[in-house]
Amino acid sequence: MLKTPSQKQIKLYMKFVFLICLIPFIRLFWLGFNGDLEAQANPIEFVEHSTGYWTLFVLLATLTLTPIRLITKMAWVVQFRRMLGLFMFFYSCLHLTTYLFLDYNFLWEDIIKDIIKHPYIIVGVIAFILTIPLAFTSTNKMIKRLGKKWKLLHKSIYLIAILGVLHFWWLVKKDITEPLIFAIILLVLFGVRFFHHQKQKRLAK
């Protein structure tokens, strides 16, 4: 277990984590600029999958902080939750933009048909819509203003995570290895929370 860092150290760590979270984004730009994307057989799919993958990855990372706190008692790690959550929103915006612009060229008729007819897209869109209020209530001001309701609202991240993994699962044609890995990680994270709550209940008795 790490010693609780000072607020100054935490600020420094945050800058570091911020830069790390930017790497997938910078990498895409880099691949775009040096022509690697253009030279690919299916660059649109590549960008779509890449941004989608990192959305899920950062989402799971966000959900890892509470279990870390519960297991290691390092309460300060939870301070990174907002930044990671916002990065997840950032990557989901890029993912959606890729779909709307690069993949479907803003052909709204086709897009709406695609969304209505295909469960994996519906699930993805719902997950995205649910993320918007979370992003917009992430400021200190909103946390104060909403009080208890804030906590309840932000519980929807669990639903978003399930929908996100489902979105990936249904998209895959046959080889479900990767979505399965995400699903297992998600289950473990839920499991840690569940057992902790059970323990709390028992202790309270």
């Binding site: 999958h49 993949d103 080889d175 290895t177």
Partner: protein, 343 residues
């Protein structure tokens, strides 16, 4: 902990591909073990057991060389003496590098870049194809004899994948109709089944229960006899690269790409409609016909438009055409057939 996604990797970014690939296979096997255990107890064992038949391996009589993933590709060999044709004149060809590095060939891995690497050591010589079922007489023909016996021609065909992308490929091959006439099916032959090679040693994907191996595809006899249907042995005037289904594969341009079985070792004529690998894998998603049809969506994604491979990051989708644009040549075979029901 970082698990890199296969969909997020550009081959040039990877320093040690062999190490990385082996990890992917390992993760996949672990993943499938778990999935199978969770779904149906012994599904994992059961599916794999139905894989390679001893007969296939003996028929071809090839040594079981271990599959070593390396970036060494088979040398490119020109095919001599094929006839150019007017098929596909004016279509813009998909670049050779895309045709040979963006492949669906699950026996060599389920991501698009895996076949080009894993198939590089695949042995296609000696090779023979056995003819069975409703035929006057079972026979075996070697690849050399196929080259000798049948006139080869180049045909430029559109290829539409069920996943929503397309290519234009200059195939070299023989018409399946010529081959079938030589095979002499009996009057009972209503369908033709194409069985691909499956070898756990050489094909890492065959160890995974992704599909029911060996890969099996089939056509109605009139579809097989249609003048568009090819047995391809080459592309871009050269011997088929391994990742494209060497040494001999099926090409059916008005159907989704998965109908084109690769590395064919057996052609069987049947009276009843065979159940193909993809029909078994997803009966409500993959039908026997699998004709390209913009009106009938895949249950999970649209088929009304497609992405053109190699057209870049800011290219537009194009509209998918009925029968992939080959209605004039094949439309009459499906007159009166409900194509939404028989997808």
């Amino acid at each position: 902990m970082i698990i890199l996604p296969k969909s997020d990797i550009i081959p040039s970014e990877i320093t040690s591909k062999s190490v990385f690939d082996n990890r992917r296979q390992f993760i996949k096997q672990a993943g499938f073990g778990l999935a199978a255990a969770a779904v149906a107890g012994n599904a994992f064992g059961a599916t794999v057991k139905s894989g390679v038949t001893e007969g296939d391996a003996r028929l071809i009589g090839r040594a079981n060389a271990p599959a070593t993933p390396k970036n060494i590709r088979k040398p490119r060999t020109k095919i001599n003496g094929y006839k150019k044709t007017a098929y596909g004149k004016g279509l813009k060809l998909t670049e050779h590098k895309h045709v040979t590095t963006y492949n669906n060939y699950y026996e060599f891995g389920t991501s698009k870049d895996e076949p080009a690497d894993y198939a590089s050591q695949f042995k296609t010589d000696p090779w023979s194809v056995s003819i069975e079922g409703e035929v006057k007489q079972n026979k075996i023909i070697t690849l050399e004899d196929i080259y000798k016996k049948f006139p080869l021609e180049e045909r430029i065909y559109r290829m539409r994948c069920v996943e929503g992308w397309s290519m234009v490929i200059p195939w070299v091959g023989l018409t399946l109709a010529d081959f079938i006439k030589w095979a002499e099916p009996t009057g009972n032959a209503k369908y033709v089944e194409f069985i691909s090679y499956a070898d756990r040693q050489q094909m890492p994907g065959v160890n995974l229960p992704v599909l029911d191996w060996p890969y099996t595809e089939a056509l109605r006899i009139d579809e097989a006899m249609n003048s568009l249907t090819l047995l391809a042995v080459g592309l871009y005037g050269e011997v088929l690269p391994n990742q494209n289904g060497a040494p001999i594969r099926l090409v059916v341009p008005w159907k989704y790409g998965f109908k084109g079985g690769k590395s064919i070792v057996k052609i069987r004529f049947t009276e009843k409609m065979p159940r193909t690998s993809w029909m078994k894998a997803g009966p409500n998603e993959y039908g026997f016909y699998a004709n390209v049809n913009p009106e009938v969506d895949h249950p999970r994604w649209t088929q009304s438009s497609e992405k053109v491979i190699g057209s870049g990051l800011f290219s537009k989708r194009i509209r998918t055409k009925m029968f992939n644009g080959y209605t004039d040549q094949v439309g009459q075979m499906y007159a009166g057939l409900d194509l939404a029901k028989h997808f």
